[in-house]
């Protein structure tokens, strides 16, 4: 999109009551703003690739400025090294109530400003208490013990798919089911609670949606977890589910309030399934669109570990998550980011930076890609990444083994995608084999 178009487009949009306080620069000098900051592109030209705009902006050195939906300007980092620098630098805050924090949509602003902040949106030292408490339950060793369970989940779902016969709904009947069942087991959520966190996550991630929906389903989940914890406090278990460990090690010892515990469980449930499900679907689409790569995986099961790094890099489903605001002046990639200015450290842009990943738009399961930033970077990097990798390894090795003739019922260009979701991915598609 050229600057004239973007300027016209934003003029036609109405965001009453927001532009004046959010964008003093833009209102003071509209032509300057339009000339220097293009509208931030949300929509993709191709479902498997981030918006072309990011490629254009990456031609320039360092971070550049874009204009958001409310007329405010923010920096965006599109270079791999800049993205890592921002995310590792404690001078950038994730606290959404700090003036200048960039919200990528109105829904996002309403959800984050009016909701309870989870520890993604805390800086140290507040963040440290939660992160450290969770880290002990999320070690590599702890997760590796879950491999047989994950394999059983995947086998059961594929068995059911085969019994029912082709075609199958890949998103609802498989991709979503894997993380929902694994998370329920990890945390200790009975079956009746699974629908609640599925809905809460969907509503929260829909950036184009109505924030009241997210608040509504979020409250239902919160109240459910509150009663589940109360029950566990009355009769504590002795297993290693997250809920039991929180009750026994944290609440009973006075380190956590019940609300603290609900907050972290809520975060795990909501953060853990849509992201994983979308990586399963996007990875499957990447393999089906690149049959030579799928063939490599079929012929060499040991390739799956590396293939999962590449799937994570290539899919980079968390597309607009890493908003930051500078607490003080910081130089990034040769640009001065002033205190109070917003910054979007774009993970999917970093993962397609040709300076770090040659021919970045090529899907190559033998590529060295373990250092991708699909799980973000810095102190907020995904807590459950070892579990996510494990789920993806089991899914893709089993898929290649059991369904070597897997194919799409409808071609890629007829599949609908959740373009406005925090986690990009297809709404639904059918497969046959």
């Amino acid at each position: 999109m050229n600057h004239v178009e973007s300027h016209l487009m934003s003029d036609t949009k109405q965001f009453p009551g927001t532009s004046a306080e959010a964008a003093p620069m833009a209102s003071g000098c509209p032509f300057h703003a339009a000339a220097t900051a293009p509208d931030f592109a949300i929509l993709r030209e191709h479902p498997l690739h981030p918006p072309e705009q990011l490629k254009d902006l990456r031609q320039r050195p360092g971070p550049t400025k874009v204009r958001l939906w409310d007329g405010s300007e923010t920096w965006i980092a599109t270079h791999y090294e800049d993205v890592r620098e921002v995310l590792a630098d404690p001078r950038f805050s994730t606290v959404t109530t700090r003036p200048g924090y960039p919200f990528v949509s109105q829904q996002r602003r309403d959800v984050l400003v009016n909701g309870r902040p989870n520890f993604t949106f805390m800086d140290p030292p507040d963040h440290t208490k939660f992160r450290r408490t969770m880290a002990r339950m999320f070690t590599v060793e702890r997760f590796s013990r879950m491999r047989p369970f994950v394999q059983t989940v995947v086998d059961d779902l594929f068995d059911a798919m085969e019994r029912k016969g082709a075609p199958a709904n890949f998103v609802d009947d498989f991709a979503l089911q894997v993380p929902v069942r694994v998370l329920a087991q990890l945390v200790g959520i009975p079956k009746e609670g699974q629908e609640l966190f599925l809905q809460a996550g969907k509503d929260r991630f829909d950036l184009s949606g109505d924030a009241t929906l997210s608040h509504g389903s979020g409250e239902v989940l919160w109240n459910y977890l509150d009663s589940l914890l109360a029950e566990n406090e009355r009769t504590p278990g002795d297993g290693d589910e997250v809920i039991t460990r929180l009750v026994v090690d944290q609440i009973a010892t006075g380190k956590f309030s019940r609300d603290d515990a609900i907050l972290v469980i809520n975060q795990l449930l909501v953060a853990g399934f849509d992201t994983t499900a979308s990586t399963i679907t996007m990875g499957t689409l990447a393999l089906l669109e690149n049959p030579d790569q799928f063939a490599k995986l079929k012929s060499d099961q040991a390739a799956v570990e590396n293939a999962v790094h590449e799937i994570l890099r290539y899919a980079s489903v968390l597309q607009f998550h890493s908003s930051r605001v500078a607490r003080e002046d910081v130089e990034v990639g040769g640009k001065l980011i002033k205190a109070g200015e917003g910054m979007l450290a774009l993970l999917h842009a970093a993962n397609r930076d040709p300076a770090e990943f040659p021919e970045p738009d090529k899907f190559d399961i033998e590529r060295h890609a373990a250092h991708h930033v699909a799980f973000s970077y810095g102190i907020h990097q995904c807590l459950g990444q070892s579990l996510a990798r494990l789920e993806l390894q089991v899914v893709f090795s089993t898929l290649a083994k059991r369904f070597p003739n897997l194919r799409l019922v409808k071609p890629l260009n007829e599949i609908e995608f959740a373009a406005h979701s925090l986690a990009y991915g297809p709404h639904e598609f059918q497969i046959e084999w």
Binding site: A88, R131, A135, R136, V140, A370, G378, I379
Partner: protein, 64 residues
Amino acid sequence: MRIKVDVEKCIGAGQCVNAAPAVFAQNEDDGMVVLLNQAPPESMAAGVRSAIRLCPARAIVFDD
């Protein structure tokens, strides 16, 4: 090669354990890094360099 870790910076992401399991482990009590070998042999250098690169908290450094 000599390395050191900063437990205060560590967030327990476990990337080092994946990259070089003979050199790094996670403390059972809090999930934080435990350095098993301060002077890993050359044969482990690639894994250690990878761990340094992957650590999201930049808690592992060369000690020279």
